[in-house]
Subunit: 755 residues, 2 copies
């Protein structure tokens, strides 16, 4: 059968250019000075034997970051970024990931730590590899690019194919053709992306070799040692060859076969490929890109994908002898001087033209074009290849180790700057990013079901949980949400259960609310819309207002909602109690936007200084907001006799806002440990009464040091919030940050293994 | 202390005119012919000893409808209406509530059934009453009006009072004053509302008495038999007198005291009034209003409230001797001829003027004015009083029993016409009305927490449950709701669990959706907005469309939502599976609006005939919608070669709509018992997978008679709906109606007692 015909005749191009994409990226933990880290794998990663995303390969210090298969390259890359954030923030403060494929400063062979796991057979396997290849060789790291077509495409081809071959047969045929052609032309990828020109002598003395394109791809890299190549001409040959290598004890296990393209099926044995077909191909020839924080750029992924499609799309089909030729060309290319033109430039350029044609025939989207153009360009400009660029750096007074240290630390720094954002998933709410970070760290399988809806699916050893907006979970009932969403209902319920709530009434009729004037004005009171949550439409009257002002406030509130509340106003500070799973996990006081004088700087200068803190930034991009230099702030200053230019006395606090919202520059101050226990008990009882596992309770407490008692409650519940914010507790201006997202996971998975 | 001064000086009028209002209304179950029903109390009312709303008084056939205390008269009246609906629909089809205070046709004394309850002391007490007063006297029914001021008012008065009296003391004083003045002037209410001019001889031979205003209030009514009146001059006197009557065995128990105004406190003993104060007063002198389906009109309630306020507000304060005078005047009034002027007309008019003044001073709302005007009018027009109006009817060829039968049956009919609406609560969604009906019937305490939000609170023997929109309960988790709210997430989840869902993709980008053309058009497909639920923005393509039509459909869908779905279209009938608590409780097929010819009537006539069915009506006011005679219907007819004037052959079905929505006149057809079990199993498995207790699943089943199997699923899940409609299952065009609201209650209260 002719795949290309089936696809073009049946208009399956749209399916053909889809796929599943995954990346496995190895990297060495490195200490501040560039030595291989001798520390243990971080405990925070939870159970190592089970972790789906962060594993250790040969050595305890050799991390392997594994993205789950994704439907687009963009998602694949998001995951790669996110995993780097998680790893960089989890490894020791003074460690970083080595950016080169060729190792950092290795200790004596004996001192290189093999992974510490409980599985004895895994340990034995690695000891045997150490014996055979030497431990040091194992420390060479790289990137594996995993690819498969979609099931839909394969189903459709199967449907439209009229040949007698079984589905498994021709699926294997597709991936075998891709592999054969890949082997033939992989030297092009080595030319473009090779990035291991030199090595530190502790791994390999490369001084006699001279700078090359890719030591890792060359004979100095880590390869199998047998002479006969595995056949890719048929699946039977492939299986037979690998099985034979194991039978003859040339390989310890099938997985020791390190071919640049490996067919992966279901189960560990290659024999399964025969009946079940290939699930995906694993392409293993990529050096770490030291200039990219993830070791591989999105542009590289685009080119590789287009290249792989071309290897299938092209009419040309190579045989085992061509594979042999390809391997030789790759070996030769990898040892070329980085600055020199490729010996096979013409072939390279012609294949890239084929890639371009394929991408046009398939109407690949426009992202691919610059990646293909760049490849052409690099064949004309070897001095711009990765390996040449590494050499540029090394020539300008850097040692290999210095350069590795600098790049590695810089890459790590990117993950450290904004710990409240998870790279690749910044479009989601911060609370969802925090939660996802924690899940990735713990090794809880995570799927973004719907990014717009902040919808995550988790799976830990088969136990599935779903979370929306950071803390909406299966643990809370549908109705408790609705109880909290309705302020009047919440109040009725709390009052009935003898909690202290402000007096008040709900009105949906303006006239009735007008007639309530006499009752309302008996005490200080507040008029507010029933169901908005953001402080809009609220008027507070601390003294009895004129009827006209009262009416205006009513209209103001009715603008926001059909129903309004007129409620007793309770003087005192408002505290946010975050109750989770029956326990107060955090108590927060929110202080209005303010600066503290130093006797030198103006108000405006002090605001600018305060705003520079990395926690302060744009809405939804930072946990705290910048203080605005605007009209409201000017008015507030004026009331206190200041302008933006005033110099404020040392240690004098000046407020710039009346309201304490974090979103208008307010300071979150953690007071969890200071809050009197009696109020925490009250908050926990309220949560129990509302039958809710996650809630943010706003309590007004006028006299902090007078504990709450049955007859003298000492607090008033203002609001019970479902889906309460978590970030403001995590990143506070003063006090201790509280990682509530981790508590959410602990609630969902009380038995998660932490080591 | 002077209550009026405290109120006016502190502007507490707004509180003073509020209150809690309740009504207890007795009524005899009556058979078709006007005889006292000899049947047992309906089992459907659940546990009688516990039922808060529907009780039996003396006799098994004497129902007592008890409204819970309400904050407004309007709410009180709503409840009274609702309870009448429940009672009327629950008692036997051939029974109704007797509309008069004086009984229906009573059997021999010995045959009147005393209530059948398990409590032996209750039985004994009634046997003693039967012995003392005769059973027949007990069959006289009436209305009790319960009233109290609000706690807020009493708290505020307490705060502003500077006297030494305790709160309980002066609260008792207020209600004692009200009672004293009430006794003095209750004759006015008897004049206005007396409605028992005659009696059937089986209870009392009234032929020698002549028509009167109120036999019940007269010496022929059911009263205590002792001569000395209970004192209302102080709480001590009141308690002492009642206790003395019991000590001397003149009364069996304190509750046997039948004064027209009784002070009710906490606990059964009047002695508690001393320390705890009066909770409310029970005013017992009201005859059933036979012309009102509830036995008491809203206008009567308004007047009684204004009257009671006046009894407190007036400076005049009566003593025990005035009470005596008042009782005499009441006895005299009750035996006056209905058509005659009151002997005390001038006093009556002057007191009504006082009521009017009070209502003006308190600024009672305008509803009260006509009620007060009417009272004045009736003093000038005795022929318009209730008793006179009863006599008018009796004079025009009706016998007392005929009139009672006619009125009683007419009243009952009102509750039977629209069983899908709960009178008094018609503003809520029908599903909430159904649910509330069922709860009231079962005796589950119900509170409307928020009518706009369809929010009910239930309490059965202390177990509280909350329900929103008829079936959103504590049994469903927060997250399962959100899973179903997101079509993409639902599909991902179901597909992962090997359920059959249509292929498809979500798009938030128009261009991406455009590029999907080739993939989309491989099969019949549908383009729809992601999250609307009402069929808006949907286009179905059964054949491959032109690109332009495809683009138009995309734009159409994108108008409704930021995200759209392009999904495989599955041919076949769509069935709604209502799954509740793990079980398919109903399966519905929705047939597009249609009529069936009879060879005589035109299409338009047939539509009109079909539309007359009481189930068809306005949106949210009837379970089925009327078929529209509009453009779309005309077009649909035209396609079939008809017009609205066509006469359709007998038994030929003609469709008027393509879509099957009930809201456009479609027919709900119950197929629960016909649906193959294999599909029910699938639906139950889906609900389990979504971890949801209440869901409406839409399954397309192309070949009904081919059962679903693992390899040949035979269905496709189109949608999983949270908060699925329940009415369309209850009131069907064909098949058996399914009362799902009752199933919701059974889920919430699996141990509810049903007898």
């Amino acid at each position: 059968m002719n795949l290309k015909n089936i696809i073009t005749n049946n208009h399956l191009e749209a399916h053909f250019k889809k796929g599943y994409f995954g990346i496995e990226k190895e990297g060495l933990r490195t200490d501040e000075k560039g030595n291989l880290a001798m520390t243990d794998h971080p405990k925070a990663f939870g159970s190592r034997s089970h972790h789906p995303y962060v594993q250790t390969d040969f050595s305890e210090a050799q991390l392997e970051l594994v993205t789950p298969p994704q439907e687009t390259l963009a998602h694949q890359y998001e995951w790669l970024k996110a995993l780097h954030d998680v790893v960089n923030q989890t490894i020791a403060e003074d460690e970083f990931l080595w950016p080169f494929s060729m190792a950092n400063i290795l200790p004596e062979e004996a001192w290189i730590p093999i992974i510490k796991v409980n599985d004895q057979s895994e340990m034995r396997y690695r000891e045997k590899l150490a014996e055979k290849y030497g431990k040091k060789k194992q420390m060479i790291s790289g990137v594996h690019f995993n690819f498969s077509f979609t099931t839909e495409l394969l189903d459709l081809i199967n449907k439209h194919s009229d040949s007698d071959t079984t589905r498994s047969e021709w699926v294997n045929d597709i991936y075998l053709k891709m592999s054969r052609n890949f082997f033939r032309y992989q030297w092009i990828l080595t030319y473009l992306f090779g990035a291991s020109p030199v090595s530190h002598p502790s791994l390999l003395d490369s001084s006699g070799i001279g700078p090359v394109r890719s030591l890792r791809n060359s004979k100095y890299g880590y390869h199998n040692t047998f002479s006969k190549n595995v056949s890719y001409e048929s699946i039977e040959n492939y299986i037979r060859d690998i099985e034979e290598l194991v039978e003859k004890e040339i390989l310890y296990e099938e997985r020791e076969y390190y071919g640049s393209s490996r067919l992966r099926g279901t189960g560990k044995n290659v024999r399964h490929l025969l009946n079940n077909g290939t699930r995906y191909v694993e392409l293993r020839s990529f050096d770490l890109n030291p200039f990219n924080p993830m070791g591989f750029s999105y542009e590289q992924s685009l080119f590789v994908h287009a290249f792989l499609l071309t290897m299938v799309w092209m009419d040309e089909d190579n045989r085992d002898e061509d594979i042999k030729r390809g391997l030789e060309m790759n070996a030769e290319t990898s040892l070329e001087n980085p600055y020199s033109y490729s010996k096979f430039k013409e072939e390279g350029l012609s294949i890239i033209e084929k890639v371009r044609e394929t991408s046009q025939e398939l109407a690949l989207n426009e992202e691919y074009t610059p990646a293909i153009d760049k490849a052409t360009h690099l064949f004309h400009h070897p001095e711009e290849t990765l390996s040449a660029k590494v050499m540029d750096k090394l020539k300008s007074n850097y040692s290999y180790i210095e350069l590795g240290n600098e790049l590695g630390k810089k890459h790590k720094q990117l993950s450290m700057e904004k710990p409240f954002l998870l790279s690749g998933f910044e479009s989601m709410e911060m609370s969802t990013q925090l939660l996802m970070f924690d899940a990735l760290q713990l090794g809880i399988k995570t799927e973004v079901l719907d990014a717009n809806d902040q919808f995550l699916a988790f799976d830990y050893k088969g136990k599935k949980e779903y979370v929306r907006n950071g803390n909406m979970t299966s643990k809370d009932s549908y109705i408790s949400h609705w109880i909290m969403a309705n302020k009047t209902v919440t109040k009725k319920l709390l009052r009935k259960n003898n909690f202290s709530v402000p007096d008040g009434s709900e009105f949906s009729d303006l006239e009735e609310a007008e007639n309530y004037y006499d009752i309302a004005t008996e005490k200080a009171f507040v008029i507010k819309p029933k169901s908005t949550n953001y402080g809009v439409g609220i008027t507070i009257f601390k003294q009895k207002p004129k009827k006209a002002d009262y009416l205006e406030a009513l209209n103001f509130a009715f603008k926001e909602d059909d129903s309004i509340l007129i409620e007793e106003y309770i003087e005192g500070s408002e505290y946010r109690f975050f109750v989770l799973n029956g326990k107060v996990e955090a108590v927060l006081f929110r202080e209005p936007a303010n600066i503290v004088g130093d006797g030198k700087h103006s108000v405006e200068e002090l605001i600018n200084i305060k705003n520079q803190h990395p926690y302060r930034g744009e809405k939804h991009r930072a946990p705290l907001a910048k203080i605005n230099i605007g009209e409201l702030e000017a008015m507030m200053l004026k009331e206190q006799g200041y302008t933006f230019d005033s110099i404020i006395d040392k240690d004098k606090k000046v407020y710039l806002r009346e309201n304490s919202n974090i979103s208008t520059g307010g300071d979150p101050i953690d007071v969890t440990d200071d809050m009197h226990a009696s109020y925490k008990v009250v908050a926990e009882e309220i949560a129990r009464t509302l039958d809710v596992k996650v809630t943010g309770l706003d309590l007004i407490i006028p006299e902090l040091f007078r504990p709450s008692s049955k007859n003298n409650k000492g607090y008033s519940v203002i609001e019970a919030n479902f889906n309460p914010a978590m970030n403001m507790h995590a990143y506070v201006e003063k006090g201790k940050g509280r990682r509530l997202s981790m508590k959410v996971l602990e609630m969902l998975y009380p038995n998660v293994e932490l080591s």
